[in-house]
Symmetry: C2
Subunit: 297 residues, 2 copies
């Protein structure tokens, strides 16, 4: 019962998102195989935690979540492209993702690379094409600029580079945090930042949302590392213990399992305390934060 | 002497472009290896025909070419990313590009893919960050939207997909034109369209520039196919006869060499006749068109 408000909110807006994602691809005048490859990974879905974070941020300002629909699609497309490229043989060489064959296993490497490229490209188009009357041109440009920074060499791509450079090496906690903040944290933070931009928030409030989501992102990653040791294979859709098998530096390795759990709690508390400094309707964001801390997949 | 006006224009603005391209990467807070990988392919340069087309279009409206500097960088970054990804082993599997080892030969496949991703992402950021006082937010959004369409599944990516699907098959002239228009034509057309948008041209004039550059793009490709048969290896920086060796459908194969030369002339004439319908200072664009028709590399 505890998560029921977030759950019903999530059902409504996940549904809206899935439909819009499908429509964005369907309407494209492009070779069928590339549309299929894009669909294949987009619909593999998952928790859609980034779009939900954006929608819940808008809700905190009492704004219609629909206002962020195309930006949410853009975020999910960029997240999906990054998974497709990360799974490639020359990168993490994964055959399975969420229990299904990875994109290149189904469509071949070339089309997987191109499907990723097309998703990345389309994401910027969607934001530029946002037609909501109450989103002005400067807001759209700020959304595009922030997204490019979060996703590019200074963000997600840089994180993946650092991750690959760190392979088979023992990382310090600082290095591990750099990788996570860039590889996954910046796009997660963008999701909250984008909601605040769309709501017309002040620069100061936008930065509070960035800081909030930064802690949320670290919590998300620590929970991920913990689940890789303690989780249920069936629920998380990949082999448990794969980090240890691959000699990856993780929070439990660097901090011990107890230390990792303490760090998780710390990040969650910081995230929640930032929310409390703002006079906004943050109940959904608080539920989302709790969910990240306790999720089992 | 015939090309001297274009040559001095080209020297000035190529120089400005190279410096700006370098600066865009230098200022990035990102792992050194990814910045090096981006630099490596960006500085391999070449004719910079797309940026020149944009600058010459602005010149036709008597606008400062500098106004289009960041958009020109964006175009060149997208062009460069497409070359890096196209050269990958799973795509065209090329070891050499412009006489130098391809990006993945130097940096490995993973960093080549990521350098391409980072260049693509950065291109949208640059347009959003254009600070020229006489470029307004709606113009920037239109530049971003058009660029995404030209580069994505409905444009360049779609063309590469169709090209790969057509490998080892005999193509019809229609299929060949589809591939070229999408793989190279749309980004070339965008370069002229972007110039017209930046100059504040009417929708009708923008479409004239799109049509002009469409013919220019086809001419460029036909000339490419002709050079692969008749060109000098030293000048074009790759093996002559590689199309025939790879059983590629080309204009000379489908139309005979005479027919290909006639088609080239036809596209050039159409491009020039569109320029003549506009009351603009199009001398540089005319020279550029002549250059495309007669280039030897």
């Amino acid at each position: 019962m505890e998560h029921s408000l977030l759950e019903s909110f999530s059902d409504t807006y996940k549904n809206l998102l899935e439909n819009q994602l499908r429509e964005n691809i369907d309407r494209m005048q492009a070779p069928e195989v590339i549309k299929e490859a894009m669909h294949y990974s987009l619909k593999a879905g998952g928790k859609r935690i980034r779009p939900l974070l954006l929608f819940a941020t808008l809700d905190a300002f009492k704004e219609r979540p629909e206002k962020g629909l195309l930006t949410a699609c853009a975020i999910e497309m960029i997240h999906t492209y990054s998974l497709i490229h990360d799974d490639l043989p020359s990168m993490d060489n994964d055959d399975l993702r969420r229990g299904r064959p990875t994109n290149h296993k189904v469509f071949g490497e070339a089309f997987a690379i191109l499907a990723g490229d097309a998703l990345l490209t389309c994401s910027f188009q969607l934001i530029a094409e946002t037609t909501e009357a109450d989103v002005d041109a400067n807001q759209k440009l700020e959304l595009i600029r922030e997204l490019a920074i979060a996703a590019g060499a200074e963000g997600m791509v840089g994180g993946q580079v650092a991750d690959m450079e760190g392979e088979d090496k023992s990382l310090t906690l600082e290095e591990l945090k750099y990788i996570h903040y860039h590889k996954t944290g910046k796009l997660l933070a963008y999701s909250a930042v984008a909601g605040a931009i769309l709501a017309g928030a002040s620069k100061e409030t936008v930065e509070k949302f960035r800081a909030f989501a930064h802690h949320l992102g670290l919590a998300f990653q620590i929970r991920d590392d913990i689940l890789d040791v303690e989780g249920s294979e069936e629920k998380i859709g990949k082999r448990v213990g794969s980090d240890a098998y691959n000699h990856k530096s993780t929070y439990p390795v660097l901090l011990s399992m107890d230390g990792a759990k303490k760090a998780l709690e710390e990040e969650i508390n910081q995230a929640l305390s930032i929310l409390k400094t703002m006079d906004l309707k943050t109940n959904l964001l608080e539920e989302l934060t709790d969910l990240v801390a306790t999720r089992d997949h």
